[in-house]
Point group: C2
């Protein structure tokens, strides 16, 4: 039966999220052991406790001479101190040995005098400046001490994290498996990218968009293709998704008319239930959140912008939970709104804006009419502003928090 | 001959960059034709002008009935207007035809009334609300008009850009080739990741770090390994780099002592010159910028943090130029400095900070002593602050611009 009516009740976003995550109890995925060279942007699965000091030995931080600091007491350009140049592995009073940046400090030495502050002559050096004990020395364990908690589970591995792990002696490490996200699009009107659509047909772009959004988060998209508007076909795809992936996402067929087929299908399946259908947001209102065979299933709108916002608001936090990286957030800045915009009472609205820098200040220029679904509102923007449910709109000049999905272009006053 | 002295003169950063880019005249790399499914985060090589309208036809933006708007004049719940349900391809006055979101508007119709605002009975519908002309219709060309400049060359392709290109009929497109960056590390003391270093030896981590930084920018690292401190070996590597890559990067061997071998080697090579050696920054002061066989060669410090800052300041803008994406900038926020820090007069210092949100305000907590080279100052931080040459330090509570290299963790007051 077709539901020929609107949503009788929309669920507020926070409530929808809470219900959904309570019901699905998404747990962190298992880990896998991979080499450091493949670990860039993966998520660390374990707390890393240093087994070794970094550096592993006292070493010179500069090019110069290893010495005993007390030998340089009161040394100056006018009263240089003379020290004997030696090659031995143990430095005694009155001796100096050449060392280069990174070289181990010879035993006995407790400081390094920089080349710049010495003069060399006849197997001796003249020290032109006093140095303190341990000056110009990188002490053993200065960076990391053995036993120290160095990195926490849930860390997204950036270049410096990898470098530190390598310095600690790691060659392989435990990272969380990539969440697999099965994606299909429903609709008899859809044709594949590159095909020439006949009148009334539309090129299906949501799978490409959402697959890329998965990649950005370090998830692995599993493309299940386009499905015709038939319950049996949709059911098959959903089941294929639950077998192949950790999360299932569909686009289209979630409005309330003839095309309300995906929720209808779920309602008739075993081990399947819709948790929420119809969210008080704009766009992406007709989103449905479901569970099928204990896997989360996100039924997103067919409109590309609504699908993007639905992914952002629901699928992204689910992926981050599977990765154990819930704290990860989009970059955000405060900006002044360049002109007033209307909101919709009772709905949380996701306004696309272009943030730019002017005279050292961030301005946010709205590029979307609230709820407008055209894709150019994304491509012309670099962030979004959330208009709360209880606001009729936002004022020109009002300070807003912008969640950035693209960079703010360099202006003239920039490093 | 070994230069047993310090740098006699340090070049200010801006002057170094200007000299270098003037001398090297880096031009955008050629493009290549790839499929949209591989184009995520690649850089667009051409301006994209739409050849087609998006949408390609007037279509319904909602589930409802296509009608003539004038037929709904003064309609209300109390005074519904009755329209005849038809299936024809042309709508006349007094008629309505069911349409679903995305379906083409039948000829003759000029608006859609939402399902919610109708009642159905006996082959007729009752319209409970007036609609304006073109209400609930996505007009042909509403998103993009044929002939419109849609995306500019230099755009880093995000999910929505790919979606829009697909909607415009693209299956393949021209992107800039990935810049190839050859990387080698010099030093007799270095061992490979995973090897157990003997006393005095050090695990080489810079190639892993810088390769990852290349990947982050969409460049392709070419690993040339570890090179011993011998001019002949270094020269071979440099030449190998110029053959295999667009940019060459080395780490180590750029201080002024025994290890000053890379600059020495460049000085003796043909078609090679050092443009700047010794920059007034901290860390990364001993960086050298050179040209060999018309290819830019960045001689970075062996210290990992100095190598990272050197890459950030010099290699990153070079890669972006080769990509034609010079305007791309790191995310940046304004934050209040949580405590005062010292600067070094005459040097631009790159202070690593941890930005966090507290009561809706961004605070930046310094995690590095100016110039300190330990890698944990990167792993504990998520951004850096530039202390200008002419400042003795920055004050507690001072507003600073932070360039972010990692996300600011979610706090409680967060969407």
């Amino acid at each position: 039966m077709v539901r020929l009516k609107g949503f009788t009740k929309l669920t507020p976003l926070d409530e929808a999220l809470e219900k959904f995550f309570q019901k699905t109890r998404l747990e962190r995925l298992p880990s896998e052991n991979i080499s450091l060279s493949e670990a860039f942007l993966r998520v660390l699965a374990v707390d890393v406790i240093a087994e070794k000091d970094v550096p592993r030995f006292d070493r010179s931080a500069v090019d110069g001479y290893a010495i005993k600091a007390e030998d340089t007491l009161n040394a100056s350009v006018f009263h240089p101190k003379k020290l004997m140049l030696v090659e031995s592995d143990f430095i005694k009073n009155g001796e100096a040995r050449a060392v280069w940046t990174g070289q181990p400090l010879p035993d006995g030495a407790d400081a390094v005098i920089m080349l710049e502050h010495t003069k060399k002559s006849n197997g001796k050096i003249e020290v032109l400046k006093a140095v303190a004990k341990w000056e110009n020395v990188s002490k053993k364990g200065e960076d990391v001490k053995a036993g120290e908690l160095v990195l926490k589970a849930g860390t997204r591995l950036k270049p410096w994290h990898l470098g530190l792990l390598a310095a600690l002696g790691y060659e392989k490490l435990e990272v969380i498996q990539k969440p697999k996200v099965a994606i299909f699009a429903t609709g008899n009107e859809l044709v594949e990218i590159g095909e020439e659509p006949e009148k009334g047909k539309v090129i299906e772009t949501n799978r490409l968009i959402l697959s890329s959004m998965c990649r950005e988060l370090g998830a692995q998209p599993v493309d299940l293709g386009i499905v015709p508007d038939r319950e049996e076909s949709i059911k098959e795809k959903i089941l294929e998704g639950t077998e192949k992936a950790d999360i299932i996402v569909s686009t289209g067929g979630t409005s309330v008319g003839k095309a309300d087929l995906v929720p209808e299908t779920i309602n008739k399946m075993e081990n399947a239930s819709i948790i929420v259908h119809g969210i008080a947001i704009r766009p992406a209102m007709p989103t449905a959140l479901a569970v099928v065979n204990n896997k989360p299933f996100f039924v997103l709108s067919g409109n590309p912008v609504a699908a993007i916002i639905g992914f952002e608001v629901f699928v992204r936090p689910a992926i981050l939970r599977l990765l154990g990286a819930e704290k990860e957030a989009r970059f955000r800045v405060k900006a002044k709104l360049a002109r007033r915009v209307a909101g919709v009472l009772g709905r949380k609205a996701f306004l696309r804006v272009k943030v730019y820098e002017k005279n050292g200040e961030f301005l946010a220029e709205p590029v979307s009419v609230t709820g407008s679904g055209v894709l150019t509102t994304m491509t012309k923007a670099n962030g979004f502003v959330v208009i709360p449910e209880n606001r009729e709109g936002l004022q020109e000049g009002e300070e807003v928090a912008v969640y950035l999905f693209d960079n703010i272009e360099r202006d003239e006053n920039h490093v």
